[in-house]
Amino acid sequence: MIRTTHRRTYALVGAALLAATAGCAGNASSSSGSSSDDGPIVIGTSISLSGNTVLNQIRDGYLLAVQQANAEGGLEVGGKKRKVELKVLDNRSDTNTMVQQVRSLVLTDKAVGLLGSCCQQNIDMQGQADALKVPLVMGALPIELLPEGKGYTWDSFQSLADGAKGFYEVAAGAKTNRKTLVVTNNDAQGTSTGKLWAGTGEKAGFTVTATKSVPTGTTDFSDVIKAGKSSGAQVLIASMTPPDCFAMWKQMKALAYKPKVAIGLQCAQTPGWGDLGTLGDGTLVQLNWSDTAGLPDTDLIVEKYGKKYTNLTDLGSVALGLHEATILLDAIKAAGSTDTEAINKALSKSTTVSAQGSVKFVDNKSVTPTFIGQWEDGAIKQVWPAKGGSPLASLSGLE
């Protein structure tokens, strides 16, 4: 899951962003392209590069894919090779801006394909792509969450169910009493995640002995911790914004609540988790990518971005971007045309194999692998699936 900062929407923050951003353009690309027969093939993205959510890593993945294609002379369309130009617009985490930008990308810049942003914005973008009848390739939205559309949006990402399944496999390998504490934020995403994970857990033989939901921005988790202690839960599933998880982990340690297995969804995968020092050690996270899983282009990603991004989460986002853009570029090549309908048709038959594995769209969705990682000495290591993974370590940070 890509979630670089918490997304609390305070009215004031919202107003602030609106006030601050209204009128300043966020165009990262300079030359005006067109998809006429001679110029470059234009694709575009309206992505959040500032504000509450910052997705520089995904953008870097997009750019990497375009670089690769152009290094080979571009894409062959209509019998001749044409360079690809990616227009990147920063929508500053604002949905209205995103809508404007998508329209201008298609209508003004004549983009023949679009790439996504993240999370809720991707859902909102689907409607735009359908309305403009331009193919949109996205990740960073669990495939279960993609609403039914008119067929122009293609989501290649993890399945929520896979993450839960993986986690319980890992947890089953540890010695626990299988009693589980679930704590989530009290918003829609938190609630649905809690339900899904609890349901999967029951099937896997775990018992949810306590469920708590807290508002984002909670700093005092004493009642949650008390519930965990008194119910004897040794398995902890937390799905909260990073600041909430940070505060809770510190407090768990201080109040001597010692679960045996703990996963921090939406939060623990942030590189900032390393700041917790030893406290963070042993915490499990859900990943969309691992450098040890033998996925295609791993070496390329590490070579190009291993210095800029030193952790699996960020590199996974680069991989995600590379994966999405490659799917779109492959489809243009397969269509041999810049006609949006032709490209869309080619997407449905996509056989791309890229940074996130092989693609096969069913109902516009293609599942990418899920990994469970574990923090150890300031870095995340893959612990599931076993192939390419390390053995599970104990939750030493909370011991």
Partner: protein, 286 residues
């Protein structure tokens, strides 16, 4: 209602009071609602993170340096940007602080990234037992430090000549100037004092919790709630109001569940504004 709920609320309230005190000080003396106060808090935390995360200092050792660092930024900001604006329309400095808040967020984002940061310290994750209650050590430290800083602020304001100059400039800036008091300097010093308090609150927040470039806003709102509860002009009132807010949050979570925490707090906030606009801990003026 168990005693540990109360204890947690009281301790959390210490941090609220520390943040509220700076807001209240600036508002009381300068008549300026500093919308960038949350960023001063977070700025303190980021400055400390340079020493703590990158150089391995203990956060409490980094605390005075973070306070000094924020002071160095705050003083010229007030003296050369906000004070000149205060002479004109009252809304100009307000808007300016709002702009500063956004600017600071962008700078934090550029300089430190958007990932949450936290200041690791042994006392952040250790607990102590007090009267049979287990309490997170950092909250105890934070509460102690808050009381100390509140007391220091109170003493400076009431027992020193500089403090009476501040109170004089607050009550009647024109007369203070006639007496040879450099009112713009007094304003800048007051703002700096508030920034120093903010930085301390930021470091403590960073140790106890975490921070991102955008965590200033919720802190500002909490601080404003504290100020509204306390009324202007009493340091002790601010401390009491912070504790009251903490207890209110804690108790409301216990009674109504986590979802009602903010609702209850802001309900109290509006009730106080409606019924006792001068604040809970202050006599009505006149």
């Amino acid at each position: 209602m168990s005693i540990d709920v109360l204890a947690a609320g009281i301790l959390a309230g210490g941090l609220y009071a520390l943040i509220g005190l700076g807001i209240s000080l600036v508002f009381g003396v300068l008549g300026l609602m500093n919308l960038a106060h949350g960023e001063l808090v977070i700025g303190g935390a980021y400055l400390a993170s340079l020493l703590v995360v990158d150089s391995g200092w203990d956060p409490l050792l980094a605390l005075p340096l973070a306070m000094a660092g924020v002071a160095l930024i705050a003083y010229p900001l007030q003296r050369y940007l906000l004070t000149p604006l205060l002479r004109g329309d009252k809304s100009a400095p307000l808007v300016a602080t709002f702009g500063l808040s956004l600017l600071a967020q962008a700078l934090f984002q550029g300089g430190f990234g958007t990932h949450p940061k936290s200041l690791p310290a042994p006392y952040a994750t250790s607990g102590v037992s007090v009267l049979g209650l287990r309490i997170q050590t950092i909250y105890l430290i934070a509460f102690g430090l808050t009381v100390l800083l509140c007391a220091a602020t109170h003493l400076v304001l009431t027992r020193t000549r500089a403090g009476s100059a501040v109170r004089a400039a607050s009550a009647d800036p024109a007369t203070a100037a006639v007496l040879g008091i450099n009112v713009p300097t007094v304003y800048a010093m007051t703002f700096t004092g508030a920034a120093v308090l903010a930085a301390a609150g930021g470091v403590l927040t960073g140790v106890a919790q975490s921070f991102t470039p955008t965590s200033g806003m919720p802190l500002l709102l909490t601080g404003m709630a504290v100020m509204a509860l306390a009324g202007i002009g009493s340091v002790a009132g601010v401390l009491l109001a912070g504790v009251a807010l903490g207890v209110l949050q804690s108790v409301s979570v216990q009674l109504f569940g986590g979802g009602m925490r903010d609702v209850v707090v802001y309900l109290a906030f509006f009730l106080v504004l409606a019924v006792r606009p001068q604040g809970l801990f202050r006599k009505a003026a006149g």
